[in-house]
């Protein structure tokens, strides 16, 4: 399972990121109970669940925001323990958090390269001088390749609408992810055209072989883009649905507990 060119090798169904028996409690509240889950290369997995089902907790647990109380995480076939979101990011797992985590006073280039700044060659770079033209050029190239339009790369994000900021956060994740992209509610608060752009981006990332884990409330978006739908309810992975066979009603029933799981969730 080790990495001989793990990128861009299409959907060979290899497990890229997996969890086994993940549990997490906050005081008396058990937010996650024995969650088994897998993301395989070249697929879009949707993770759905009602408010408080544990979706964001699960994302935080697997990306190093905090550590699960019990259970194992495997990454590319090996057990891992991410100490911080940065740690996960260094391994090629990029996350778009629900609260976006952009710096509104920096411009799009500054945000996209935040923590990954390019420095000028030679002595000037050693003195800490940024290579701003290069960062801008690389941003323009990558965005063009991803077919993402950003209004003005040189303006602070505080002058952008919420949807445009979302676009920058999503573009940043997609630009840097080499193994997995995780998106927590990326289409919430977006206009119709922007939703299309994000869903299209998700498909395009998937087609390069990089799996996407997509958390959403929005059933049409989920059924539109997902290859597999995993349902969390009250901290448990209750079932897995196939968007080609199941319907939105099935998903809502599983989320709310109107129907008990059939089959055993995701393994």
């Amino acid at each position: 399972m080790s990495a001989e060119n793990p990128e861009k090798n299409g959907s060979d169904g290899r497990v890229v990121l997996g969890t086994r028996g993940i549990s997490k409690s906050f005081g008396a509240v058990q937010a996650l109970k024995n969650v088994d889950f897998e993301v395989r290369s070249g697929e879009v997995v949707a993770l759905i669940g009602d408010n408080g089902a544990g979706k964001s907790t699960f994302i935080n647990a697997i990306t190093g925001v905090f550590r699960p109380d019990r259970g194992d995480i495997t990454f590319e076939g090996e057990p891992v323990r991410f100490e911080s979101p940065h740690d996960a990011r260094e391994r090629g797992i990029e996350t778009v958090y629900q609260d976006l985590a952009v710096a509104p006073q920096l411009d799009a280039v500054g945000n996209i390269f935040l923590g990954r700044e390019r420095y000028r060659p030679g002595i000037l770079g050693r003195l800490g001088l940024l290579d701003q033209p290069r960062m801008r050029r690389e941003t323009e190239e990558q965005l063009a390749e991803l077919n993402v339009r950003i209004r003005d790369l040189g303006k602070p994000l505080s002058t952008f609408s919420g949807g445009q900021r979302q676009g920058v956060a999503v573009a940043r994740a997609v630009m840097w992810a080499s193994k997995v992209v995780i998106m927590d509610e990326p289409t919430a608060a977006l206009g119709v055209a922007q939703v299309e752009m994000v869903l299209d981006l998700i498909r395009r990332v998937r087609d390069t072989g990089i799996p996407v884990l997509f958390i959403s409330h929005n059933m049409p978006h989920v059924f539109d883009v997902a290859d597999r739908i995993c349902v969390l309810r009250l901290g448990e992975m209750v079932t897995e649905l196939d968007p080609k066979k199941n319907t939105t009603d099935d998903a809502v029933a599983a989320m709310t507990g109107a129907v008990r799981s059939r089959g055993g969730g995701a393994q």
Partner: protein, 350 residues
Amino acid sequence: MTGPQTDPGQAPEQEAQPGRRLAGLSSVLIVGILVFLVAVFTILNGTAFLNFGNFVNIAVDASVLLLLGVGMTFVIITAGIDLSVGSVLVLSGVVGGQVMVALSGTSEQVQSYQFPNQAIGIPAGVAAGLLTGLVFGLFNGLLITRLKMPPFIVTLGTLGIGLGLAQILTGGTNVRFVPTAIQSQIGTKEFFGFLPVPVVISLVVAVIAGIVLAKCGFGRYTYAIGSNAEAARRVGIDVDRHLLKVYALSGLLAGLAGLLDLSRFNTTSIGAHTADNLASISAVVIGGTSLFGGIGTIIGSVVGTFIPAVLRNGFIIQGVQAFWQEVAVGVVLILAVFIDQRRRSAEERM
């Protein structure tokens, strides 16, 4: 799901306008105010105000405050504050002065203004003064980052500690018998006969700091932390470490300012700097740096430092009571913060 915008490329251009116009306004406004003041005093006083010698006076007056303002700019961009700068300035001057006095000769020699060992005493005093500033800055930074205490409270505490220690060290009287060479060679020396050394030192520091803030990774992280510390943390920036450096820089520059002050007057001025913290905060905020963090420039702080200096100078030449300067600076400060707030709320509406 049907948000107000329909096109991802260019959504609400018109909504974005007010914020941007105000942002532009504040930087144009401060330069405009400075130009306006110079023009008014020139019309009122002619060449008594508008001459090179007088401008040099203004620059010398502003040089100490400018050093504090440079450090303060970094601190405020991180959404912090440093109230201790005036005290650190005084303590650094006291420590530097006392080391110079102690090492430059015996007490009999220095009391008769003989400084046989000043070649050792002066550099040692300079080092001791800078070190004092640096240590206080690090202390501020450690309390803020390790104990998670608000910068306002931490630096209010070190303001008292610094001034108290300075008075304990001196018994409340200013340091006397400081080697006169530091005044003749630094404080009142002029390069090429017209460029005062304190002004050159301050401007060199300001230019370097301006480049670091605008063009270097250090500056980028400073803005990022003030803009959204959590976002900076998530991309792997060591936020605490960076804040420690920023407060250390502010302390170090306060130390340098203390030495500059010492060199100008050849003695300390313990009682004269109690309002320096507020004066430098005012200068920085007038210069367009946002107290909410994430926004600010060194050039703005330079202009913001010169507005009070020009006012004071102009009022003195005009024969107006200099106290009016404080009234005028207060008005400008309130105006600057008002504009900043409007800018922020215009942004948040989007």
